[in-house]
């Protein structure tokens, strides 16, 4: 910026800029709105620039780090790790950020890298502020032409409660928009568009672009899952608000259709990329395709998760409906706390709403008995030494270990002997009576084990054996002959070994 010559400066400032009533500074509310939207979008990037501006203030030599880059990577990580139920884990994000931070300054210590990662993440949450968010001020012209400054509050990464009181991170819509850009479109159509694009790209072999599109598709999948999560959460909260005769089943059916559709679609893509991966000659192409497979697999995983949620919704509605529909009819009309108090209250300006909440607070909190303190008690209290806390907790009693007796019916040797006995050649089946007699000669207990194994073989787990790739399987067939044995009765089974073909579809080859 050059400094204007002094003589000109004197002239220009003495003449006030005329503002004719007809020509408003802004062409109209519509254009102004667009400006406001762009100002807001710009504001969302400000915290990232701010990081680089403020890194010099940190104690230590941190100006070598590209903080905005780390911040974008952090938002990326949080978005990708946002699960259906919870969000991304704080420490996990820091841990995944570390390689990037370390790559920027390989010579610095690990502790410093971690400090930088944490600093960036904390600043994206904006830990210092009461709201844990950001505020930008922008100006607009009202309908009457008056200029109004307004506060725009936004968050980039927000903390949400997880199960067990833990805290998880979620990327806000603003952050996702900053990150991916131009997501201000219908989720469904955007996703379809991305997938079509993906298929075209793959069919033309342009994997680099395909990966970009697939990643975008995954961002949208995440956003879509988030939308449905909120929807289901809302249904759980109040059944009365929902028409579960028509609308909710329709909604669930629609969503299930959508999941099925996407699932089919993505499986088709997966097959295509796998082919591309296996056929690719260039190692770079191969690697890209492999990454793409992972991304699409992740998309499918998210869809499956969504689907199980949708299936749970129906029973939940019915249970809630039962609970409320079968209650006894009210004896008197009560106050509808939500409909008559909370709902009309929330749209009010806070300075008026606070009068209502104050009235509720004053009469709805109960009472407290004021403490009456005597000086003697106070002296005693102050002079009592604090209770020493044992950091290690109570001493653990020495566990009394007793060897459990081996209560197996048969020993390992017996099992081995029985299995040896039953290891029949595949072309020579034998009768159970003969096997029992042979077993009795070696060990009086062995026939029991042989009989048990033979019974088990009467209904052999063929499918399992095939899946596990076992070469052969013991089987038993009853041909009607009665068993003649001093200890056992029943059928004299024919025992033989079946060889299993390698392919599950092929018919098993059986000995006669």
């Amino acid at each position: 910026m050059s400094v204007a010559p002094p003589n000109v400066w004197g002239v220009t400032t003495t003449v006030p800029y005329p503002l004719p009533g007809a020509a408003r500074p802004a062409p109209g509310p519509a254009a102004d709105e667009g400006l406001a939207r762009r100002l807001k979008a710009l504001a969302c990037t400000a915290p990232l620039h701010d990081l680089d501006a403020r890194k010099a203030n940190l104690a230590g030599e941190y100006s070598v780090y590209a903080m905005a880059e780390v911040a974008l990577a952090a938002i990326d990580l949080v978005t990708l790790n946002m699960d259906f139920d919870t969000g991304a884990d704080h420490d996990q994000i820091v841990a995944r950020l570390l390689p990037r931070v370390a790559a920027q300054t390989p010579t610095r210590s690990h502790a410093e890298h971690e400090r930088v990662a944490r600093w960036v993440l904390e600043n994206l949450i904006n830990v210092g502020s009461a709201d844990r968010g950001f505020r930008a001020v922008y100006g607009t012209f009202g309908p009457d032409g008056a200029y109004v400054r307004r506060d725009y509050d936004f968050k980039l990464i927000e903390e949400v409660p997880g199960p067990g009181g833990s805290v998880y991170l979620r990327a806000t819509d603003e952050a996702v928009n900053v990150l991916v850009g131009a997501l201000d479109t219908d989720v469904t159509s955007a996703q379809i568009a991305a997938e079509v694009k993906l298929e075209v790209l793959i069919s033309r072999g342009r994997l680099a672009d395909a990966q970009l599109a697939a990643e975008q598709a995954r961002y949208r999948t995440v956003q879509y899952a988030e939308t449905l999560r909120r929807t289901l959460e809302a249904t759980r909260r109040n059944v009365r608000a929902v028409d579960w005769l028509q609308q909710v089943p329709d909604l669930i059916a629609e969503a299930l259709d959508h999941v099925a559709d996407r699932y089919r679609h993505e499986n088709a893509i997966l097959t295509n990329i796998r082919k591309a991966r296996d056929e690719a000659e260039e190692p770079e192409h191969k690697r890209r395709a492999a990454e793409l497979v992972d991304i699409v697999k992740d998309c499918i995983r998210r869809h499956t998760q969504l689907q199980s949620r949708l299936l749970e919704a129906g029973p939940l509605f019915r249970a809630e409906q039962d609970r409320q529909a079968f209650a006894t009819p009210p004896a008197r009309a009560g106050l509808d706390l939500y409909g008559q108090l909370v709902a009309p209250l929330l749209p009010l300006p806070v300075e008026r709403a606070v009068r209502v909440t104050d009235a509720f607070f004053a009469r709805g909190t109960g009472l407290r008995t004021p403490g009456a303190v005597r000086v003697t008690d106070l002296v005693d209290l102050l002079l009592t030494p604090p209770l020493e806390r044992d950091h290690l907790g109570a001493e653990m009693p020495e566990p009394d270990l007793v060897a459990t007796p081996d209560d197996s019916r048969f020993s390992d040797e017996q099992l081995e002997a029985a299995l040896d006995l039953l290891d029949l050649p595949h072309d020579a089946p034998r009768r159970l009576s003969g096997l029992l007699a042979q077993a009795r000669r070696t060990d009086p207990d062995l026939p029991y084990l042989v009989a048990l194994l033979a019974l088990h073989a009467a209904s052999p787990p063929v499918g399992t054996a095939v899946r596990q790739g076992e070469p052969q399987l013991l089987f038993a067939v009853d041909d009607g002959t009665a068993l003649d044995d001093p200890e056992f009765g029943g059928a004299d089974l024919v025992l033989g070994t079946a060889r299993l073909a390698a392919h599950p579809a092929a018919r098993q080859e059986r000995t006669p």
């Binding site: 929807t231 108090l341 209250l345 300006p349 004053a362 009472l367």
Partner: protein, 311 residues
């Protein structure tokens, strides 16, 4: 719910004390059920009952003497009037005397027993936003504990709430308002120098739900922190009982809470709302209704299920 006659204490010591036979008395004097004048001992008993009432977590079922005094309050009009007079003199409003709730009393506005917002939360004294959030936390906890008018009217109803549930439910309502404002093309960002004109829902929705702290406690300024403080306070008031740790802490309501909300807080807040010129529709049915069947169900980002209020 047990009949109070079954709650008769085995020893019954404070109830039947020898009294002087009936004599000529001034017309307005307090008399016991036999027409006998009340003695100083009776007044002491009445005061003892009020003393029990000031221990909100204590229930007649757990204390034989309390149960006997409650029984006497219900059967002996003279004693009941004495006890009510003692309570009134201390600045207490008697809501109900029953075996299930004991003597349920609420503090009158200027009573020494009343809870003041400034003592409750220090930040609330200076910051209107915090003051609103703390008040709203109490209102929302009650609204979720008694979601339907029937629930508030039904003496046998026990509400169950969780800290995260209260937060999620208010957030959902706020989100719905935000969407509606967006649909209408309203600018909800408040003017910079007039924080008091910011819409109430916006104050709530921009406060973060939770936050990591150094000592793994709940962040006090977050909405779950504020709600957690409210329910913990209500537990101390004998209004809620903690039942578990899931979802930020789960609680069930007590008879006293229902009485307090129904007879005191709800109507007071309602009166204030009417004074502001907001007239909510009151036809005794739930105001959260199913949407009209021809309503579109397009899934747009951030859409909740269609909530439609009756207004």
């Amino acid at each position: 719910m047990t009949d109070e006659r079954d709650e008769r204490a085995p020893d019954g010591h404070p109830a039947e004390q020898p009294r002087e036979p009936s004599r000529e008395q001034p017309r307005d004097a307090l008399r016991d059920r036999d027409g006998g004048a009340l003695t100083a001992g009776d007044v002491a008993d009445a005061a003892r009952l009020v003393g029990f009432a000031l221990q909100p977590k204590l229930l007649p079922a757990r204390d034989a003497e309390y149960a006997e005094l409650v029984r006497r309050h219900r059967e002996d009009p003279g004693f009941a009037r004495t006890a009510d007079a003692v309570a009134a003199g201390l600045g207490l409003i008697v809501l109900e005397v029953s075996p299930r709730a004991g003597m349920a009393v609420a503090a009158a506005e200027d009573s020494v027993f009343a809870v003041r917002m400034g003592d409750y939360a220090r930040r609330a004294a200076s910051d209107a936003g915090d003051r609103f959030l703390h008040g709203l936390a109490h209102l929302a906890a009650a609204a979720l504990a008694f979601p339907r008018p029937e629930d508030l009217a039904d003496d046998g109803y026990i509400g169950r709430i969780t800290v995260n549930g209260v937060d999620a439910f208010v957030r959902q309502a706020c989100r719905r308002l935000e969407e509606r404002a967006e649909e209408a093309g309203e600018v909800t960002d408040p003017a910079s120098d007039t924080p008091g004109l910011e819409a109430a829902w916006r104050v709530y929705s921009r406060r973060s739900a939770t936050g990591a702290t150094k000592d793994a406690r709940r962040l006090a300024g977050s909405t779950t922190g504020i709600i957690g403080k409210a329910v913990a306070f209500l537990v101390d008031s004998g209004f809620l009982q903690r039942t578990g740790d899931e979802a930020g802490g789960t609680y069930r309501t007590t008879a006293r809470y229902q009485l307090q909300v129904r007879d005191m807080a709800g109507s007071a807040a309602m009166a204030e709302l009417l004074e502001l010129g907001v007239v909510p529709v009151a036809d005794g049915t739930a105001s959260l209704l199913p949407a009209a069947s021809d309503d579109g169900l397009d899934l747009v980002p951030d859409a909740g299920l269609p909530f439609h209020t009756a207004t």
